[in-house]
């Protein structure tokens, strides 16, 4: 298995060989920041294209076909369109908050994005409370959405934002509970550690039924947290036209749009890391030959393969189900997911205490 940290260490030693330590670290930080932004943009473009094609396939359509072969250039054309569109200032809106909101959303999204371990040794933010940090960082997004709705001076936006606030804060609970279930199993919150512990089998398989239940809850709650169908009612287009980003145009809208898709990827990436072993290849204890072959496939292929598979499942959800109503969303959360999540946590604790897991 190729360890990417060899590369990073080589760069570090190269830089420190002719630069003072501080300057080298500074340059590395900038380089990594640029890489993350670049990766973020690439993931967004892939996600948007994938969403269009997958949704089209579910709906018996072909999706974009005109711009480039199989419509591959379509997303670039859209981004270009969005970049050249005017950013309209709304009368009577709170200008400062109105302009700030999309950046808060995108900031939260980028912070969470940097936590993902893409491959062995390819972690950016990796410390002992990694999951905790991820949850905290991704929660900032709701502030941006509330601000967007509040400052737009639009009743639709306001209702959308309020719905969003209620929904995202509620569902954060379920996401955390299901992640906590796995943390009980791993006794660490560091992403790299969590992945390493899955070398002899992914947690989805190691953790018995509770891990599976936690996985399902995580998918549902994660889907709700990024405001995607069937939980997309903050932006329910048939009720609130576009919810909290109704009044945004140009790249400000683009930031919301991109953040929504990358958030979906982050949810899928975290699910892949925590439940499906992240970049860890599929290992079956006892079959050493098989395991060695699997190790030849690079880690990032595994990671992106798993993440996009989860994304595909979430898209399948979205493009199958009708939208829930706000009270039904909260019922689902507080009457079903939270109690089941808590019980599940208890079950996992029992399994861990009596050492019943694999």
């Amino acid at each position: 298995m190729f360890d990417f940290s060899i590369v990073t260490q080589w760069i570090h030693s190269l830089l420190t060989s002719f630069l003072p330590e501080e300057v080298a670290v500074f340059i590395e930080c900038v380089a990594i920041g640029v890489c993350i932004l670049l990766g973020y943009a690439i993931i967004a473009i892939i996600m948007i294209f994938m969403e269009r094609k997958v949704c089209a396939a579910f709906q018996c359509r072909l999706g974009p076909m005109r711009v480039g072969p199989w419509g591959t250039i379509q997303v670039f054309a859209d981004v270009f369109k969005m970049l050249i569109k005017e950013i309209i200032a709304i009368r009577h809106s709170d200008k400062f908050l109105y302009n700030l909101a999309p950046y808060i959303v995108i900031l939260a999204s980028i912070l969470a994005f940097s936590c993902l371990p893409f491959s062995k040794g390819m972690e950016v933010l990796d410390f002992n409370v990694g999951i905790f940090f991820l949850m905290a960082a991704s929660s900032i997004g709701v502030v941006g959405i509330l601000l967007a709705g509040w400052s737009s001076n639009n009743k639709y936006s306001l209702i959308g934002a309020m719905r969003s606030g209620a929904q995202m804060i509620s569902y954060e609970l379920s996401t955390s509970l299901s992640l906590l279930t796995i943390i009980v199993l791993t006794d660490t919150m560091q992403f790299s550690e969590i992945v390493e512990r899955q070398a002899d089998g992914w947690f989805l398989f190691k953790g018995h039924i509770p891990a599976f239940i936690a996985f399902v809850i995580y998918l549902i709650a994660g889907n709700a947290e990024v405001n995607r169908g069937p939980f997309d009612l903050p932006e329910a287009e048939s009720e609130l036209t576009a919810g909290y980003h109704t009044e945004y145009s140009g790249m400000h809208f683009g930031l919301f749009y991109v953040a929504e898709f990358v958030n979906l990827f982050i949810i899928a990436g975290v699910a892949a890391t925590i439940f499906l072993g992240g970049w860890m290849p599929l290992h079956i204890p006892g079959l050493d030959g098989f395991n060695t072959i699997m190790d030849y496939i690079p880690g990032f292929v595994w990671f992106f393969g798993k993440a996009f598979f989860v994304v595909w499942i979430l898209m399948w959800f979205k493009w199958t189900f009708p939208r829930l109503r706000i009270d039904q969303i909260l019922t689902l959360e507080w009457k079903y997911l939270v109690p089941i999540g808590l019980l599940n946590l208890l079950l996992m604790v029992i399994i861990v205490v009596f050492d019943l897991h694999f």
């Binding site: 396939a57 072909l62 076909m65 199958t320 189900f321």
Partner: protein, 149 residues
């Protein structure tokens, strides 16, 4: 739900219905798609011969149309889409006065394709063609003169 279900029963029932739905969409994911790629598939496009695209005035091999400028179509039109200019000339072979068509103007932009003009025509001089790509850049070009020759 008609009957009250228990908490767990309701949950399982709900999950079951959701999975049924996902089965259908999942199956559809792999079926052939129905999208028609329109401008590219012009050659294979099927249009019913009865489709009312725009009014035309067919001509025979010599380029003569059958219009006798009677004006029935103009009268039948609910939207005043048709304007006929005619003149009376002396037919040399019979020596009788005869009305002939000078200009047959048709405003495609105002036409609502009700077919009343075609029904009214006693000589089948006008008919609808299946040509449907009627978009133009200038609305004045929608006013067409049908008797070109």
């Amino acid at each position: 739900m008609k009957e009250r279900r228990s908490y767990l029963g309701g949950l399982l029932h709900g999950i079951n219905t959701l999975l049924t739905g996902m089965k259908v969409t999942g199956r559809e994911f792999f079926t052939p798609k129905v999208t028609e790629q329109y401008p590219e598939n012009r050659a294979t496009l099927e249009i019913s011969p009865r489709f009312r695209g725009r009014l035309t005035m067919p001509v025979d091999a010599e380029g003569n149309n059958k219009c006798i400028a009677c004006g029935l179509c103009q009268m039948a039109c609910p939207n005043d889409t048709i304007h006929i200019t005619s003149e009376t000339i002396l037919d040399e072979s019979t020596g009788k006065k005869k009305k002939v068509l000078v200009k047959y103007e048709y405003d495609l932009g105002a036409c609502m394709f009700c077919q009343l003009c075609v029904n009214a025509c006693p000589h089948h001089a006008i008919e609808f063609s299946t040509e449907f790509e009627n978009a133009v850049f200038d609305r004045n070009t929608l006013v067409q003169t049908l008797n070109k020759k």
